[in-house]
């Protein structure tokens, strides 16, 4: 069952993406794309739940593909984000087309690249082979490049070029890291088949050559860290996320960054084993995380574009996840919990920003004022999503940040605590100010009536679903979910 399921998950999205693109009408293309993502989501949820109820990881294709608790944790999050974004895309692109900003050709391009990106990310999550994991990440870079420049404006082309060059070079560094990792077990003379298999390397990590593994981890951190958007390698992120259409931005921030972070997570037990648990690798991860939080906080204060604001929030939150992973133990649990919370919040925020951008015909925060009067449901959405992102209770991110604070205090990591609180407080104040002006700022009554948008059923459905999900995840986490996240954390040496 697992063999067929895993192969289906990898191949189906790209095949269905190509088939969806054959349809003539844009609405048909987008709805068929949504249905194929729905099928993938159902299969992914079923397989992941099976892994959490069963105890052993599932292997397929001579153990090149596998599904263990860590990948079974990430897989449903990814498919849920893709599902929500595909649902949003149907309504969003319909409006873009009606305003002559996009044509059928771009919708076809979207459908093909969307399916390809989903396949590539699933390959990353399901790979046991570290080299194939790298191939998947490089494939996501190449396939998502043209999603950014779907509307070929000068700015989107600039963003696309920056993204492709910076991320390709970064992922090239990650490949050097992968080669160093393979070189670190060269002296063990493993069979060719086993030489880059994560399951095998994890058990042998204490016998790895520490010099090679340390060099490898540095390259992995900088390389995959570029794709994650950790500062100072984050320069492509605000441009790419702000210029891409909103469903694509939601997918980028909602999961693509997490896919790269997942790759770094896979290397944590290897470096810890090779350095005999000294925490050398974890310290580096923590430093990159803290730098990301501080730099993003600085940029958020002066931001004027709502999508760039959300992009810098992504840098901040991936920095928080990196700090959590760098603490280990309960910090790893908090990081994984935060992964889920951030993905949902960020996708939700990009949906709101995207629709408000269509209503106001601009993404400038100064010009998006009084959204509660102009488009009430999306005004509510942007306010709730930004509240969630800055860590306001009762939304989920408040709980995961609290868990992280607790982990920092328990481990006595006070300098991390200080920097984290400083960064979070700065972001809280500036982002809240932006959120309040966008939702309740002064707007000319005439202007408001002119651009007033009557929302349709699908918009209410999406917004209410996201708010409920964020509140439930914040207020009530069932024991089985806590246990599941903890077991996923234990896969990479964390958990409590």
């Amino acid at each position: 069952m697992f063999t067929v399921g895993l192969i289906f998950l990898v191949l189906f999205p790209i095949c269905s993406g190509l088939i969806c693109a054959l349809f003539k009408r844009p609405r048909t293309i987008l709805i068929s794309s949504f249905i194929s993502v729905l099928i993938v989501t159902i299969v992914a949820f079923y397989l992941s739940l099976s892994i959490f109820t069963d105890q052993t990881p599932a292997m397929a294709k001579n153990s090149w593909l596998f599904l263990d608790k860590l990948s079974a944790f990430h897989l449903p999050i990814m498919t849920l984000i893709f599902l929500m974004s595909s649902f949003f895309a149907v309504g969003f692109y319909e409006i873009e087309i009606s305003h002559y900003k996009l044509g059928v050709k771009q919708i076809r391009q979207h459908a093909m690249l969307w399916g390809g990106a989903l396949s590539a990310m699933i390959l990353v999550l399901l790979s046991n082979n570290l080299g194939i994991m790298w191939v998947g990440i490089e494939a996501t870079t190449l396939l998502t490049g043209f999603l950014i420049s779907l509307r070929t404006t000068k700015q989107s082309l600039e963003a696309m070029w920056k993204y492709i060059i910076i991320c390709s070079v970064g992922v090239g560094f990650a490949f050097i890291g992968t080669l160093f990792t393979a070189a670190s077990i060269k002296h063990l003379n493993l069979a060719f088949h086993d030489s880059m298999m994560w399951c095998v390397l994890k058990d042998l990590s204490s016998t790895m050559n520490p010099t090679f593994m340390k060099a490898g981890f540095l390259f992995i951190l900088v390389g995959y860290g570029t794709k994650v958007g950790l500062a100072p390698m984050h320069n492509w992120l605000p441009d790419a996320h702000s210029q891409a259409p909103s469903p694509v931005s939601a997918m980028f921030s909602g999961f693509m960054l997490n896919a790269a972070m997942y790759c770094i997570m896979r290397y944590i037990p290897l470096i810890e084993g090779a350095t005999q648990g000294q925490g050398w690798g974890l310290e580096l991860l923590r430093i990159f995380g803290l730098v990301s939080i501080v730099i993003s906080a600085g940029f958020i204060v002066f931001q004027n574009n709502v999508k760039r604001l959300l992009a810098y929030h992504s840098v901040e939150h991936l920095g928080i996840i990196a700090v959590g992973l760098g603490l280990g133990g309960a910090g790893t649990f908090a990081a994984l919990y935060h992964t889920f919370n951030h993905s949902i919040s960020k996708a939700f925020a990009f949906f709101a920003a995207g629709r408000l951008g269509q209503v106001y015909d601009t993404y400038e925060i100064e010009k998006i004022q009084g959204a509660a009067h102009v488009a009430p449901i999306w005004g509510t959405a942007i306010f709730c999503s930004i509240l969630s992102l800055i860590g306001m209770a009762p939304f989920a991110i408040f709980m995961s940040k609290l868990q992280l604070l607790k982990a920092m205090i328990d481990q006595g990591s006070y300098y991390s605590l200080g920097i984290f609180i400083f960064g979070s407080a700065t972001v809280f104040v500036s982002a809240l100010q932006h959120a309040i002006t966008m939702t309740w700022g002064n707007i000319d009554k005439e202007e408001a009536t002119k651009i007033h948008s009557k929302s349709r059923a699908w918009e209410y459905l999406l917004v209410v679903f996201c708010i409920i999900l964020l509140v439930v995840a914040g207020l009530y986490l069932p024991d089985c979910v806590i246990k599941g996240i903890n077991e996923a954390a234990k896969t990479i040496g964390g958990g409590f």
């Binding site: 082979n129 080299g131 194939i132 790298w134 191939v135 490089e138 494939a139 190449l142 490049g145 043209f146 420049s149 070929t152 404006t153 000068k154 700015q155 082309l157 600039e158 963003a159 696309m160 070029w161 920056k162 492709i164 060059i165 390709s168 070079v169 090239g172 490949f175 050097i176 080669l179 160093f180 393979a182 070189a183 060269k186 002296h187 060719f192 088949h193 030489s195 880059m196 050559n209 010099t211 090679f212 060099a215 605000p238 441009d239 702000s242 210029q243 940029f299 002066f302 931001q303 004027n304 760039r308």
Partner: protein, 215 residues
């Protein structure tokens, strides 16, 4: 065998200097193609001896993609954007050549540091040349102003990584090697189409003038 390897090493070093010292795009593309052919021999020379059929397949595919297809696709891109020369780069050509020497020296020092840590016999100078090729590729991305030069720099960087991998890691499964080559092959298409779209919209491919997104 070792003599042939030494010839390859020397030719790669010379090709790096040709890349650094010239402003003509068609020379850059020929250098990338030649490097692709040269490093394509490495699986046969350095691969596991008992898997010669795997090594030969890999060499042929690698030389075909990097040595033949890359130059064809890059020349096609250059023809569509009608560029012949690099615009004054940030770093002048003589200084770039001196930087190339510096990269080589740093790479020799670095590989000297790495090699004693290895438990098996590693060709130190090949490792050094691989590292210096990667540095040269990165230098081209950073110091050149045309989008096509950045793309060429990326492929030289990839050649360096390929050499590095051939020397440091013995048996990567053939499927994985082919998947990596496929990725790089798709990259050349993607970069080519991107350059074409940039030229169509901006009517130039000078990346210093494509910098409106700030903050």
């Amino acid at each position: 065998m070792s003599g042939f390897l030494d010839i390859i090493i020397v030719c790669v070093i010379l090709s790096n200097f040709a890349l650094l010292g010239s402003g003509r795009i068609h020379i850059h593309i020929r250098v990338v193609g030649m490097q692709g052919l040269l490093v394509g021999f490495l699986p046969i020379l350095l691969g596991p001896i008992d898997q010669m059929s795997r090594n030969i397949i890999l060499s042929l595919v690698s030389m075909g993609i990097k040595g033949v297809l890359f130059p064809i696709l890059l020349f096609y891109t250059v023809r569509t954007v009608r560029i012949r020369r690099e615009i004054d780069p940030y770093v002048g050509y003589p200084f770039a050549m001196v930087s190339g020497i510096a990269f080589l020296l740093i790479s020799v020092w670095l590989s000297g540091k790495l090699v004693p840590a290895a438990a098996v016999d590693v060709h130190v100078f090949l490792l050094a040349v691989a590292l210096s090729t990667s540095f040269v590729g990165l230098f081209c991305i950073v110091s050149r102003k045309l989008a096509i030069s950045q793309a060429i720099g990326y492929f030289v960087f990839e050649n360096g990584i390929w050499m590095f991998g051939s020397e440091l890691v013995e048996g990567i499964p053939l499927l994985l090697e082919l998947a990596i080559l496929l990725d790089v092959f798709v990259a050349v298409f993607v970069l080519g189409i991107a350059i074409y779209q940039i030229n169509k919209r901006f009517e130039h491919i000078d990346v210093t003038k494509i910098d409106s997104l700030k903050g």
